[in-house]
Amino acid sequence: MAAPVLALRDVSKSFGATRALSGMTLELWPGEVHAVVGENGAGKSTMIKIMTGVHAPSTGGVEVDGRPVTLSGPREARAKGVSAIYQEPMVFPDLDVAENIFISATDLGLVQRRGLLRERARELIARIGMSLDPDRVASGLTLAEQQAVEIARALSQDVRVLIMDEPTASLSAHEAGELRRIARGLAAEGVAVVYISHRLEEIFEVAHRVTVIRDGSHISTRPIAEVTPERMIAEMVGREVGNYFRKDESHATPEVLLSVRGLGVEDAFEGVSFDIHRGEVLCLAGLIGARRTDVALSLFGIRPATAGRVLWKGQEVRIGSPRAAMALGIAYVSEDRRKLGLALPLSIRSNVTLATLGKVLTRWGLMRERAERAVTQGYRERLNIRMADADTPVGKLSGGNQQKVMLAKWLETNPQLLIFDEPTRGIDVGAKAEVHDLIRQFVRQGGAALVISSDLPEVLALGDRILVMREGRQMGVIPHEAATQEGVMRLATGQDRDAA
């Protein structure tokens, strides 16, 4: 009887007092796409880091082809045919795309042949359905493009096991579809693919089998045909969850909070005009490179606008710095939480109060530690953040919980307009629903939200109106009642241009 290509046997892993995995067992067979689902912090990333030798298991073992192995690190794992694309893209900003892909390839000889590299990079990029210039330096790549580079890197050599940790989190619907096609294709070639995702609909599209883990323990492994979404969610969170993707009625008031006329930033976007009312959720939809982030950055004063006008409560304002934006009551929850959102090595509480330090200082500029802890505790309960205590470094939380800490930081500034850039990227279904509730609650209490999202169901579930962008231009605004996935997509891809 053949052995599974890779298997975990009764693996446990602890980080200090945190038990990230306990008694985990998993078998991967050639030719399958094996989905792994679980809540934030369930231990998915930890599990794959054990498969690739980044972490050594505390107890239990890893088997390759039925034989126990000790993986010293990603190098050895790759040599055994196990490659991974990590949740957070890992590129070399100083190298170009082609070199990024082939930096550790072993079959290209001693001497670098640029022509060959470029050629093969082009092939690989085409294979994953992207268009990306192999000569571009990686520092200018968007998250999605970085992800593409990583996928190409993983495919650049023989893989027997390919692990994808939330590969589609930063991709648009079209690219995500492309990626699923690739995953299926690889499986058809006999590769075992591990596919981690919080987007349940895509699990059903791509996976052959699905494993649910909860609190570091294995709950179930079944063929996809035997699972229903409700059941899967119930297993993940340990209870039944109602229909969370339901649009409730609009709370928009007639009062215009922010209005933007012909806004533009040189070299980024131009001619963006919209109003946001109190109580309204305005969604910004578009494909990657649509420059939605840049719109947000200019409203937040990071890249001040070079054209157009911004009116805040009817008054014309110039937003030249984040401080100016915050003074007005604007907050921006960044899409890049590791680089821009959180001070990872610092404690949770210092991150939560980061933007509002003044509130927890005494007259003499000293920290009021008790107040800070109280604030943190408040958000821990309100946002259901899973953490040991407020002094834990944020970097040790799982991705989703990190996201919540970042949200807490901005809610604490008590903003009137909250700009969310991909607020639910990498967040599990339960947490996603919580974040959506939060956004709704926020607008219901008189705030306004500008939500940038590449997740179409999310856009449809949240947006009172949906503004669609494409390559730095506003393509149109669709009211919620008129919005469909297809309609948004048509605008986003430029096949249609709304007159509104």
Partner: protein, 316 residues
Amino acid sequence: MTRVLGPWETFLLAVLVLVYAANAWISPQFLTVGNQINLFQLSIEKIIIALVMAFVIINAEIDLSVGSMMGLSACAFATLVEAGTPAALACALCLGIGPAGGFLNGWFVARLGLPSLVVTLATLIGFRGLARILLEDRSIGGFPDWFAALGQRGLIGPVPLGLLSFLVLFALLYVVLEKGGFGRKTYVIGVSRDVAEFAGLDTARHKILIFMASGLVASYAGLLFAARVGAVRGDVGQGFELDIITMALLGGVSIFGGSGTLTGVGLAILIVLSLRNGMSLMNVTGHIQTGVVGLLLIASVLVPRLGARLARRAPA
């Protein structure tokens, strides 16, 4: 509550106790009041600057120009006094030199975005050059008695001004760094300037302030030096920057910014000083002392790391 002593500080404390015990055992003079005061006095300028250097490095920058700024202030002071300016006024004026130099450093680093290693390497040369222009090949001494007394005699009992300043500054900076909002910002900016900027902190201003503080303290140290040794030449403070940075790093301040404590730096200072003093009393000559401090620097990072590795090997 956060613990007062982290694992690193505890380790340093243990080393310190060891060094003190060994010194006291070997040399009868070590624990005398006079020697204990000398132990600080001999490096007083360096240790005072090291306290602020901790801020600079935690903020993910470096200031190589402190020795030169110190020299420049001392030289400017001497020039002014020689020209007939009252010493007190000259002191006040020269205390402005460091902040001005620090502002220059900070502006290039924070506003222009140049790496501080490069900027302060250039000002290390430049400020030293200004000091040379002022004094050329001369040496100026003959400061008023009250001024020399401040540097050389006890101010409160046997404790001279320098040591007193160190203690006060330590207490002050401890509170600022570890209990204050300013310190919190210093850590955050040190971890990631982008994150701080996105959270609305004025990171450029903060960095400039820290460089100015570093300059201010360097100026003060320059004046202390002038008072302590009674004469000033163009080479005052030359090469001090490396010793200062060594102390900060030994104290557990991460060269990449974002971590380190003032307690650690304080302990590291005590370790270096007592070790050097002990070796001097045992007649160990200069280059061996330097070598030993070098070894200590490596060992202090290496030992805990190896210890942790061994602990991990051992069955849980």
